[in-house]
Amino acid sequence: MRRWQERGIMGVLNGATLFSVFITLAILWVLGAETTNFFAQDEVTVGEFFGTTQWNPLLGSEKHFGIWSLVCGTFLVAGVALLVAVPLGLITAIYLSEYAHPKVRSILKPALEVLAGIPTVVYGFFALTLLTPALKVFSEGFGSFNALAAGIAVGILILPIITSLSEDALRVVPQSLRDGSSGLGATRFDTSFKVVFPAALSGITSAVILAAARAIGETMIVALAAGSTPKVTADVRDEIQTMTGFMVQMALGDVSNYGVEYYSMYAVAAMLFVLTLCFTLLGTWIRKRYREEYE
């Protein structure tokens, strides 16, 4: 009797665990099938999708499906975000782990946690109504939608991720290494940058990569602040469109459920999924592969 009960419970629990695998399979199936449907349409070819840079599926007599303008927009925003978040995040992490007085730490850490908990739509509002007007003061060239404001806001969003993951990596470096370094007369700065930082490098790299994945997939900030004009540009004052931004535009528009435009949403989602998956896998792999092991 008890054995049967035990087995029944095991079955239920295993079912719940397998559900997570089903989610992954469902993502692969849905994105794969609908992307195949997309390429089966007459208006588009695989060559056009990966080989051209004009993305214009909704307006105009001729539709263009060149993914690179969306990818470029995505990387532009993510690049700005990383430029903002990596230096700030790493310095804060080193400060928290190597320099800060426990009292400072006990204020700064919760503040960062609060930053991490703020919904992304709030950052989008922040970028649109505060950052963009502020940027316009510096230069006339900024549009009411631009890549820089969105990028900075995404940077603020991923700052706590980089800080907390890197700080974790720094803190697992054993104290004996620091003591050894100080004992040889090194300053805290030398110890941090020549001993602790290299020892934690794999964890820090993986933190940056995971944060980059988050920046690429971020949706609400770019939907509000980056605009909806896909183009290949490196000018951060321009209005651009990211892959996620395009998906939101599609979700808001009244597009029929069967046109090539509708399927293009799945193709973009598949591209986004593959990109973020690569980043996540790479981040996890680096952390495991290059981890320095100490007794």
Partner: protein, 405 residues
């Protein structure tokens, strides 16, 4: 010089100052970096302050009980977010009701039932890697998945306007007669043809009172008597079919309703719940488990009576973090619900809905300043909810975090 006397160099402060070596470059670097660190950390903290102050000053003016209790309106002066608040409450309750049992079960399998065989261990590792990857999938992709799987169900069950299965719905054919009275004829199924006016058939007024239909001849005058006009129709009058949904209304496919939204949010927070529950279970000292197993308890008895209760505060904290994520998540809901004009709270699981982050997005995306103020007010409400969640989490952590070993 007697040994009691201090050397002149140490006693003379001025001399000491003069003879001290200049600070080495390494130490100067250290000092400078310390300064940079303080500056940067202060900046991150002040970012938070700027963000909150901006939103407070913009939003506090329009925040009122009227704002909380009225529905969205094209006129920003009377617009409110009551339907959005109710939508978020529905979503949160449904999402957590589905995600918590699933997530905790999966975490128990992954932590407490570690397999011993090498083949099973590979599967175990694969599932673990899979969950890590799921937590990295952008939420908008989950939105697309939810749209296909839950909202339209691959198109297998017809579409939302013409679902292949529905319960909890009644149909009524509604006539407007020449005297501007409404007459209703109940219909048993959606497939039944439209009602045709026949003299003597039973009709109802909107209040539900039954009448006998009076058919007015094609050439005859419209009756003067209002009691008669109330139950009169011409033979050419055509009804409109009205759908009346009960609170337990259910259909396949789910359509862009609140259940599809909650299931999609469940996909987003499931990895978070699994990972945080795993951490909570891992923190339970294995001596407790070993003692229970050693006393002859089965694996499940150990989990249910020993491990789960010990890990409960950690699990609850994780659940609250997941709730905070769910209440602020906008992208997947946007894929499911879009931006629709909703003026009332959801009444059943399939109802169209809006949620707080969607309403904020809607207002923030408009060009007028008045709507930005409304968005800021909405953000204050949302952040207050988040603050409450976090306060509960901190309280739980403080109250139950006693050492177990």
């Amino acid at each position: 010089m007697s040994p009691r006397e201090k050397p002149a160099l140490l006693s003379d402060k001025k001399l000491l100052q003069e003879r001290r070596r200049p600070m080495s470059q390494r130490h100067r670097k250290d000092m400078i970096f310390r300064g940079i660190c303080r500056g940067v950390s202060g900046m991150s903290a002040s970012l938070l302050v700027i963000l909150l102050v901006t939103i407070l000053t913009e939003g506090i003016g329009t925040l009122s009980t009227q704002f909380l209790s009225s529905s969205p309106d094209p006129d920003p002066l009377i617009a409110g977010m009551f339907p959005a608040i109710m939508g978020s409450v529905w979503l949160l309750v449904l999402t957590m009701a589905i995600a918590l049992p699933l997530g905790i079960s999966a975490a128990i399998v992954l932590e407490e039932y570690r397999p011993k065989g090498s083949g099973l261990r590979k599967i175990h590792g694969f599932v673990q890697l899979n969950i890590t990857n799921l937590s990295g999938v952008p939420s908008v992709v989950f939105g697309i998945l939810g749209l296909t799987v839950f909202a339209s169900m691959f198109g297998l069950f017809g579409n939302e306007g013409n679902p292949s299965a529905e319960v909890g719905v009644s149909f009524v054919d509604q006539f407007y007669n020449e005297g501007d009275f409404v007459l209703e004829v109940p219909v048993s199924a959606a497939s039944q043809p439209e009602a045709v006016p026949i003299a003597g058939m039973r009709v109802f007024d909107p209040a539900g009172k039954a009448y006998e239909l009076n058919l007015v001849g094609d050439d005859a005058e419209w009756p003067e008597d209002s009691a008669l006009a109330k139950r009169s129709l011409r033979s050419w009058d055509v009804p409109g079919r009205i759908k009346d949904r009960r609170w337990w209304y259910f259909r396949l496919p789910f359509g862009r309703g609140i259940l599809a939204g909650a299931l999609t949010l469940m996909l987003v927070i499931l990895p978070i719940i699994i990972i945080s529950t795993q951490e909570a279970l891992r923190a339970v000292p294995s001596s407790l488990r070993d003692a229970s197993l050693g006393l002859g308890a089965t694996q499940w008895q150990t989990v249910r009576r020993i491990t789960l209760p010990a890990a409960l505060p950690g699990i609850l904290t994780g659940a609250i973090i997941a709730m905070s994520r769910a209440i602020g998540e906008a992208a997947p809901l946007l894929m499911i619900a879009g931006i629709v004009f909703i003026t009332r709270a959801p009444g059943n699981l399939m109802d169209d809905f809006t949620a707080m982050p969607l309403q904020i997005y809607n207002w923030a995306g408009r060009p007028q300043k008045e709507f930005h103020d409304l968005a800021a007010s909405g953000i204050i409400v949302l952040l207050t909810a988040l603050l409450l969640f976090n306060a509960v989490a901190v309280f739980l952590r403080q109250k139950y975090s006693k050492p177990l070993s």
